[in-house]
């Protein structure tokens, strides 16, 4: 029996008991999750309620913990890439890229221009799917059932596009050290070119149906303030930080790959509330499309193939050293730190999940709000639990 278990015969598990220790009189302790409909999987939050007001909240993680970091130490360098597709089902390509980027840094591999552009195109398309998934699910959390179907209508088209060069529809693992698994075909480029104007036409509908909706605006405005100082203390990144008014985007702040070539804006909102984060994500969809358009234009003149010549085998042996590489994922800064001891398997793989830091700010942001607001805040953080639990 571990030191963390309470031997006393009390109701609830260890976390409930620990939380109950600080209970005030007249309050109610409620376990939200791990099977609650709006915790997106298996997040559990223990909340203390005074009426419907949240007095205290504590997220309990680990229900989806798979120990990817340990798997990294037992797999070969190349064999770990499929794991990256499973860390975050929302935006797996960012993780693919962060890992491959870190290994490329270790090995000093220059990725061909064409491969970089293809990576950009696919990652941005994947960002669109990620934001659409979030958008639909968030509105679902707020009680509207229809928008998620419209979002998935568009997302389905994106998945059809991404299915061509990746052969998968959700857990992409098509990045390879030095490039990509497959090249895109002309049909795929055609589909992307057709999709962008279609989606541009859909965005105003999203705005009219949801963003402008009186009920929705009243639900999310001025709820869950996560300001700049809080972002810094908790390490929040991505739309959470941009919703607080900081134009921080890894694609700009530490330009990796070919991102410095593109003309795109970093949408920000100064309200620091759920609505700010919502509007940032919606605006980001448009920016992603701009990047894709530019990348497609550059593609025909790009040098090299879809993967570097003499690409390393999965059982590669990168030189001894350490490397930290981060990319901008759908939820924020995705960082991968690898240490190599020169053998076939990594010595250490550390995954820095943006959702992990974003969620840690939840307890502070939700204190004093209504339980319905807590749901709205939780959704506005865009949580993907597998990524947080890893």
């Amino acid at each position: 029996m571990s030191a963390y278990q309470n031997s006393e015969q009390m109701k609830g598990d260890f976390y409930t008991q620990k939380f109950e220790a600080g209970k005030r009189d007249g309050t109610l302790i409620l376990n939200m999750g791990p099977q609650h409909p709006s915790t997106h999987g298996v997040l559990r939050i223990v909340v203390e309620l005074d009426g419907e007001y949240v007095v205290r909240a504590e997220p309990v993680l680990g229900y989806l913990h798979r120990m990817h970091e340990k798997m990294g130490e037992t797999q070969t360098w190349g064999g770990f890439i499929p794991n990256m597709g499973r860390v975050d089902y929302g935006h797996p390509m960012a993780w693919n890229w962060a890992y491959c980027g870190a290994v490329e840094k270790l090995m000093g591999i220059e990725v061909p221009e064409r491969a970089e552009l293809l990576r950009v195109i696919m990652t941005e398309l994947n960002r669109l799917t990620s934001h659409l998934l979030w958008w639909g699910a968030y509105i679902l959390d707020l009680g509207a059932f229809t928008p998620i179907m419209y979002a998935f209508d568009d997302r389905e088209m994106l998945l059809d596009i991404l299915q061509r060069p990746t052969a998968s529809r959700l857990t992409y693992s098509n990045f390879r050290v030095g490039g990509l698994q497959m090249d895109v075909d002309d049909k795929c480029i055609e589909m992307i070119k057709a999709f962008i104007p279609h989606f541009r036409k859909r965005l105003p509908m999203y705005k009219d149906l949801v963003t402008d909706n009186l009920i929705l605006r009243r639900r999310i405005e001025d709820i869950g303030i996560i300001d700049q100082d809080m972002c810094r203390r908790y390490g929040c990144t991505g739309p959470v930080l941009r919703g607080a008014g900081v134009a921080y985007d890894v694609r700009r702040a530490e330009p990796y790959s070919v991102y410095d070539r593109f003309d795109f804006e970093i949408p920000t909102q100064t309200s620091a509330c759920s609505a700010g984060r919502y509007l940032v994500r919606v605006a980001e969809m448009e920016q992603s499309m701009r990047i894709i358009e530019q990348a497609i234009e550059m593609l025909p003149s790009a040098q090299g193939g879809y993967i570097v010549d003499k690409a390393p085998k999965p059982a590669m042996k990168p030189p001894v050293g350490e490397a930290y590489f981060c990319v901008e994922g759908g939820r924020g800064k995705v960082g991968v730190y690898v240490v190599s001891d020169g053998s076939k398997t990594p010595y250490r793989v550390k995954l820095r999940a943006p959702g992990f830091s974003n969620l840690s700010a939840f307890a502070e942001a939700a204190t004093g709000t209504l339980i319905a607001d807590a749901v709205a805040i939780l959704g506005s953080l865009d949580l993907i639990i597998p990524e947080i639990d890893r």
């Binding site: 840094k105 000093g108 810094r232 203390r233 390490g235 050293g321 350490e322 730190y337 240490v339």
Partner: protein, 175 residues
């Protein structure tokens, strides 16, 4: 050159090649100095990226990644703690987000963070809280000097000569 950490007793400050490691500054600290360093970094508008540990022959090397929003200047704080008593003071009082990272590090490596307000298992189940899955077996465990590149890089930093000297000493003791 790393102004943010002025006044903190560092064991070694080194500039690292950003292109190959992703770090700009690598700073070795004694465990006692971590809180002070974190406070300085907070004042210098650094935000916390992550905290984790590496298992080496010499002990657990706890790594803290910090970066700024406006200037890309990643600082990595490295704190070496012995295996038999891996204790580091918690910085959760300054960077609240550190609480979870520290709990995760405790789950994976068993490094204890003194002063963490809630040092209970985060990702590992409570039943197997003392499993420490990322602690390596003796067979595969390596020493710091074989894996991390520091010596050459230190020579590049000509900023603070005292720190430079201390770094040498720190290096020697670690090796």
């Amino acid at each position: 050159m790393l102004k943010a950490l002025e006044g903190v007793q560092t064991q070694c400050v080194a500039r690292q090649d950003k292109g190959t490691t992703g770090h700009v500054w690598s700073v070795f600290l004694a465990p006692g100095q971590v809180v002070k360093a974190a406070g300085k970094l907070y004042e210098a508008e650094y935000s916390l990226e992550d905290i984790f540990a590496l298992d080496f022959e010499e002990g657990f090397l706890v790594l803290y990644h910090f970066n700024r929003w406006l200037v890309d200047e990643r600082v990595v704080l490295r704190v070496l703690v012995p295996k038999n008593n891996p204790v580091v003071p918690s910085i959760a009082g300054i960077f609240q987000g550190a609480e979870w990272h520290e709990r995760e590090t405790r789950d994976f490596h068993g490094v204890r963070f003194e002063g963490n307000p809630n040092l209970v298992p985060l990702l590992m189940p409570v039943e197997t809280a003392d499993l420490f899955p990322l602690v390596k077996s003796d067979k595969v465990r390596a020493s710091i000097k074989t894996l991390l590149n520091l010596g050459e890089v230190v020579s590049c930093t000509k900023a603070i000569e005292e720190l430079f000297a201390e770094a040498e000493a720190g290096e020697a003791s670690e090796a």
